[in-house]
């Protein structure tokens, strides 16, 4: 545990000044700042009053001195979570947020900011302009290091079994960066086209926009990205990696799991051979998914993404011994043989001609075998997606009637609802709560099916209600062809003597590493999961490649962390970032008309247009804020971006604590009659200070509503101070003077502009303040004594101020201005009290930190050893803040010395 003499909480001007004083005295200081830069609010000001000295010119040297002082340890993006006492000293827990940038490498060049694809309000310009998710707070920031704002992993990305950064490619797509989007997807999955066509898109189920009008069409956007890229790049742009490591890996099976594993292994320099029992690669993608859902040329182009890396795919090559592969020189094996065996019903007539299983049927159709189903009645048994595929294929083969029998109700059906709807549109009939009990034939040829009605009992082990036959409800139906789609089994039997299998035939693996009982063999995909989805299988392939790599490098597999993700962003927090959400209806899926669809195997779903993709991706709410588009990684010349960075917590010891957490600006929305937050040309004084500062958000002072240079500016003093209606009865002490300062600066910047200050009374109590006020008056600033009752907005963005003109008889008047500045008051920051454990830091009646002996010991608080500096104790201007910092430094030094001497 690190020991310091003093812990200072908050690195605004008072915190910095206290730290510098104490550091100069030789005390070791830990200075903790919540923001990514020190400097507080002063560094964001234009000038200081009444001298009109440049605020940056005063602050910047202080900031640099603080950061470079040998006795000051600075922690930014950090918070003190808890302070307690132990053995006469303070113990503090300090939490440092992950900023995802290595500060030792970052040069502050801002390239990450320029490349970032996420725009959010810039809090350092008080919302007047955007910043990026990757950002340096402001030009004079200390430390001048980029940080990346992340509020968790976006739910869409988090839901993806192969951790495709869905939010990332959506944010690239909305910027029109479709090629970059493709490359981002390729970081996590090589079968981009197939996923865009046939992924079941768990990302969409988690899209926060689903809580509004409906989720983003994430899969269809991916399809557009793949088509955009493939139409411009019929062949991959890359070849085998230059560096090979000399090790060989065999992949058994070329379905999505096998291809994914092969891709990631080959990228890592392994020599990979894929063994495929079928005539062409792709596994279920090519042989089980009907081409009206996934065209074969898309699969073929996807496969090129793998073979371009030098992966050899040996087709028509069935592997039946893993040990033999080892003998052939492969250092590791990935087993991804899928589920190619169909389950049987175990009823009479299953072996009749005309009764086939779903995988056999779909595969033979894919291979081009022509089933003559014209005018025939086809029965499909089952309720999964494969059953629906088989039924729709049967319609395309000319069957006049296709019936799907499912033994449970529609509610329990595992097939996706949209698939059922599309099948129904194509004329497929569904008979729920019905199941065949026997198939009846003549001369070995199927003629009829006898089915029984079912009812639902209690839930079974799958959680679904168990179907129970209703005795005596049997009925017959003439059928010509039956497809059994009641489930698939793993094709693992050849390996049962070499590796351990589960009872259901799946391969027994370590669920984290996917390593089997034979250490050099890893397994994944349906062979491990049972029938799963394409993207789940790809995720397994990616995981296996990660652990095979570690295995072959001799590393401990249990120690390795695969794909660290932040927890998912909380949807309710995402939605609460905005007061309103514009309704943006989703683009509906476009399909061929049903009567066209069943004519052949043409693709059913039509692509989105580029305009639809831009509109759809712009609906994204940026849940995690950073989208993980990785453009910053590509742009950073110093290789400083580090998405694996984690938050850290430290425990430190200190003899004294200084609280200098500053103040909060009064949120002017709490005075709704002034229209702040509703009228774009009503701004607060801090925003005006930003407009006046050299690092201003615009090129000059402009109206936020339309970019016009204002000509007639009003100030409304005492907004949210001296106001019991908002529970802040005290004077802000600074709003008169900062408004006069701004008025003077505006007179200089906009010589033709009229400036009017609406005030109750001008409090010019400090040295030179009265002269400063008179000077503004002499320059032509108009001062009107009177409270502003309300502000209205005109159509042209100008504002009508209703006020009481006190010095002219108290009459009610209305004045028109083209920009209104609300001179907001200061509010306390009482959250600081929460950090003190087991004792209470007292606040005064207005919730500022209580100075228990203000007259003789202004920095003392109610807690021994805890001192206060700056506006934490109450509103004050900069000179007074610095004075209190001096007082705090002296009192802290006296306290420590006294304590050390045992007095």
């Amino acid at each position: 545990m690190k020991k310091y003499d003093v812990l200072i909480v908050g690195a605004g001007i008072a915190g910095m000044e206290t730290a510098l004083n104490l550091g100069d005295m030789g005390y070791k200081v830990l200075l903790v700042e919540r923001e990514p830069s020190i400097g507080g609010k002063m560094i964001l000001l234009s000038k200081v009053f009444p001298t009109l000295d440049c605020a940056s010119c005063i602050s910047t040297p202080k900031m640099a001195a603080t950061a470079n002082h040998p006795n000051i340890h600075l922690m930014t993006s950090s918070e003190v979570k808890e302070v307690s006492r132990k053995n006469g000293n303070f113990r503090a827990r300090v939490f440092r947020r992950a900023v995802f940038v290595d500060p030792a490498k970052c040069t502050g060049c801002q390239e990450c900011e320029f490349a970032c694809t996420v725009a959010v309000p810039d809090e350092f310009n008080f919302g007047l302009v955007a910043r990026r998710a990757a950002f340096i707070p402001f030009p004079q920031a200390v430390p001048k290091k980029a940080v990346i704002e992340r509020a968790g992993t976006s739910p869409c990305s988090f839901a993806c079994p192969t951790y495709i950064k869905a939010h990332g490619y959506i944010s690239l797509a909305r910027s029109g960066k479709f090629e970059e989007a493709f490359h981002l997807i390729m970081e996590d999955a090589p079968l981009v086209g197939s996923l865009g066509r046939a992924c079941y898109a768990p990302c969409e189920g988690e899209c926060t926009r689903g809580l509004l009008e409906g989720p983003l069409p994430i899969r269809r956007i991916k399809r557009f990205i793949a088509e955009y890229y493939y139409s411009r790049h019929p062949e991959p742009e890359y070849g085998p990696p230059e560096k090979r490591n000399g090790k060989r890996v065999a992949v058994v099976g070329s379905g999505p799991a096998g291809l994914s594993a092969a891709y990631f292994l080959a990228r890592n320099g392994y020599e990979v051979t894929v063994f495929e029992a079928q005539a062409e690669p792709g596994g279920m993608l090519r042989y089980a998914l009907p081409s009206y859902r996934l065209p074969r040329d898309v699969v073929s182009r996807d496969v090129k993404n793998i073979t371009a890396l030098g992966v050899e795919i040996k087709t028509n090559h069935r592997v039946e011994s893993l040990k033999k592969l080892r003998e052939e020189g492969y250092h590791a094996v990935f087993l991804a043989v899928g589920t190619w065996k169909a389950r049987k019903m175990g009823i009479e007539g299953e072996n009749l001609r005309g009764v086939v299983d779903s995988i056999d049927f779909l595969k033979r159709v894919s291979e081009g075998e022509s089933f003559d189903l014209a005018g025939k009645t086809v029965l499909v048994v089952g309720g999964g997606n494969v059953a629906i595929d088989a039924a729709r294929v049967a319609r395309r083969l000319g069957a006049s009637r296709v019936v799907v029998q499912y033994r449970r109700s529609e509610k329990e059906m595992p097939a996706f609802r949209w698939e059922v709807e599309e099948a129904e549109e194509e004329g497929v009939e569904f008979q729920y709560l019905k199941n065949p009990v026997r198939f009846i034939g003549e001369d070995g040829q199927l003629r009829e099916v006898e089915s029984i009605r079912m009812r639902l009992g209690e839930p079974d082990e799958s959680g679904r209600r168990r179907p129970i036959p209703v005795e005596g409800s049997e009925e017959r139906m003439r059928v010509d062809f039956v497809v059994l789609a009641i489930g698939l089994k793993p094709s693992t039997s050849p390996f049962q003597d070499e590796i351990e299998l589960n009872k259901n035939g799946t391969v027994k693996v370590n669920p984290t590493t996917l390593q089997t009982s034979l250490p050099y063999v890893f397994a994944g995909g349906d062979a491990v999961l049972g029938p799963s989805t394409m993207v789940e299988a790809m995720g397994q392939g990616k995981r296996a490649a990660f652990f095979i790599d570690r295995f072959l490098r001799g590393e401990d597999l249990q120690e390795a962390e695969f794909e660290y993700k932040l927890p998912p962003a909380k949807k309710e927090e995402v939605l609460s970032r905005q007061l309103t959400h514009t309704r943006l209806n989703p683009v509906k899926k476009k399909l061929l008309p049903p009567e066209e669809r069943i004519k052949d195997f043409r693709e059913v779903e039509l692509p989105m247009t580029q305009e639809e993709v831009l509109y759809s991706s712009a609906r994204c709410l940026d849940c995690g804020i950073c989208s993980e588009c990785h453009q910053c990684i590509l742009a950073c010349p110093a290789d400083a971006i580090d998405f694996s960075q984690k938050a850290q917590e430290f425990e430190v010891e200190a003899e004294a604590v200084v609280v200098s957490q500053g103040f909060k600006l009064f949120p002017a929305e709490r005075k709704p009659r002034y229209g702040f937050g509703r009228f774009f040309n009503v701004i607060n004084a801090m925003q005006m200070d930003r407009l006046l500062a050299p690092t201003r958000p615009y090129n000059t002072i402009l109206r936020p509503s339309d970019g016009k240079v204002p000509e007639n500016i009003a100030y409304v003093l005492c907004t949210g101070s001296r106001d019991r209606t908002v529970n802040n009865p005290i004077c802000s002490q600074i709003c008169c003077m900062y408004s006069i300062k701004q008025a003077q600066l505006l007179m200089g910047a906009l010589p033709l502009a009229d400036i009017t200050v609406y005030y109750m009374d001008i409090r010019a109590f400090g040295k030179g303040y009265e002269e400063f006020f008179q000077q503004a008056s002499d320059m032509g600033v108009q001062f009107i004594k009177g409270r502003v009752a309300k502000i209205e907005e005109k159509e042209d963005g100008n504002l009508l101020l209703h006020y009481e003109d006190i010095e002219n008889g108290g009459v009610k008047k209305v004045a028109e201005h083209d920009l209104v500045v609300l001179s907001v008051g200061l509010l306390p920051n009482p959250e600081i009290t929460r950090i003190f454990k087991d004792e209470k830091l007292e606040l005064d009646e207005f919730y500022w930190v209580k100075q228990v002996e203000e007259d003789v010991s202004p920095a003392r608080t109610s807690l021994e050893g805890v001192f206060v500096a700056g506006t934490a104790a109450g509103p004050k201007d900069i000179p007074d803040s610095i004075l209190t910092a001096g007082a705090a430094s002296a009192e802290v030094a006296a306290y420590i010395e006294s304590k050390r001497r045992g007095r």
Binding site: E113, F114, T117, V118, A119, V120, P121, G127, L128, V129, A130, R132, S171, R174, S175, G176, R577, Q578, L579, T580, H581, T582, L614, Y615, S617, A618, C620, L621, D622, G677, R678, F680, P697, Y698, N699, T700, L702, P704, S705, D706, G707, K708, V709, E711, G797
Partner: protein
């Protein structure tokens, strides 16, 4: 009223369109807003961010109505 965060988020989707409009020559915020068919206050957010990040820059002269014109800036894409 549209939430400021929502307007700002749209910048990325609007950038390409604004750059295309400015290819015709320098324009004020209201002129770009008219060309885009979007409110001036929204366009103001987008154009000021584009200026901040080096995609556009202001011309030297102000129009008689008190507006600056903005043009494409060489260098960044």
């Amino acid at each position: 009223m549209k939430d400021k965060r929502e307007i700002i988020r749209e910048e990325m989707a609007m950038r390409g369109k604004i750059l295309e409009i400015l290819k015709e020559g320098a324009k004020t915020v209201p002129e770009v807003a008219t060309a885009l068919g979007r409110p001036t206050e929204e366009v103001m957010f987008w154009m000021m961010a584009m200026r901040k990040y080096g995609l556009i820059e202001e011309t030297e002269e102000m129009t008689e109505d008190g507006y600056y014109k903005y043009r494409l800036k060489e260098g960044r894409k």
